[in-house]
């Protein structure tokens, strides 16, 4: 994992969560800014997956990489699922789902950092 990329992902994910929270509190459905944010997040996550696999094949990272690889791939699903949900549920609750998605991605990245450095 690269710290810069991980930090960028966490920042974008939390920005999406905060923006979506404000949207939800105002009783609005998800809008274009959310979709753009999720798109950026997905691109960053794909970049991370590529970098992660390259580094893993170069003998870096955790000794037992199975869990890490699981996170690496599972996290890719979340922005896509969040966007689909937000488009499907055109109410404040669609925005609320994005809050969950953003926080979940941030938490997963923190957890992946721990796995990578072997501190947990």
């Amino acid at each position: 994992m690269t710290t810069a990329l991980a930090t960028a992902i966490i920042v974008v994910a939390l920005l999406i969560a905060v923006y979506a929270l404000v949207t939800a509190l105002r009783g609005r459905a998800m809008g274009l800014p959310d979709l753009i944010g999720l798109g950026v997040l997905e691109v960053l996550l794909i970049a991370q997956a590529v970098v992660g696999f390259v580094k893993l094949s170069g003998d870096e990272g955790p000794k037992h990489p199975a869990t890490f690889i699981g996170y690496l791939l599972a996290v890719l699903v979340i922005p896509v699922a969040g966007a689909a949900w937000g488009l499907l549920e055109r109410t404040r609750w669609g925005s609320a789902v994005l809050v969950v998605a953003g926080v979940a991605v941030a938490v997963m990245i923190v957890r992946m950092n721990q796995l990578w450095s072997g501190s947990a």
Partner: protein, 154 residues
């Protein structure tokens, strides 16, 4: 973006009661389903890795992880689908979850030796910010609310 019709209560027009179908997956239910989906994913992935790589280390804990994952998947699908049968399945799944987190949470504190590695339910779900403890309670409350609304028709 067009403004959706959210009505005075903030509920979507389509989710307003009146239909026969018990709608557990729309409105606030979406949020619940989303959190359940993430837990199904997390618990499932964790159980898969644990069982696939080191099952003999802690067979009890890993079997429980797999069981917990299965219950989360069941609850997610049942809540998302709605309808009468799904409603019963969702109530059962949430109840099993609540019983599981309480039983395993207590057991994991009393008999640490039996759980050399953590499950989602260990320590009442402390590894997951106690969400596994809160989730089934919220789930059951939500199911009760939707059932009540469906019965009274408004």
């Amino acid at each position: 973006m067009p403004e959706p019709d959210t009505g005075v209560t903030g509920e979507p027009a389509a989710a307003r009661p009146g239909g026969e179908r018990v709608r557990t997956g729309s409105g606030p239910g979406r949020l619940l389903v989303a959190v359940y989906a993430i837990f199904a994913l997390a618990a499932g992935a964790r159980a898969g890795v644990q069982i696939g790589t080191k099952f003999s280390d802690a067979p009890l804990a890993y079997s429980l992880s797999a069981f917990a994952a299965a219950v989360y998947v069941l609850a997610t699908v049942a809540l998302a689908r709605g309808g009468r049968t799904s409603f019963r399945v969702a109530v059962t799944a949430c109840s099993v979850e609540l019983a599981g987190v309480l039983a395993i949470g207590t057991l994991s504190l009393v008999d640490r030796a039996a759980f050399p590695d953590a499950t989602v339910w260990s320590g009442y779900g402390e590894g997951y910010g106690f969400v596994p403890l809160v989730l089934p309670v919220v789930g059951l409350l939500w199911l009760r609310r939707t059932a009540r609304r469906a019965r009274t028709g408004g």
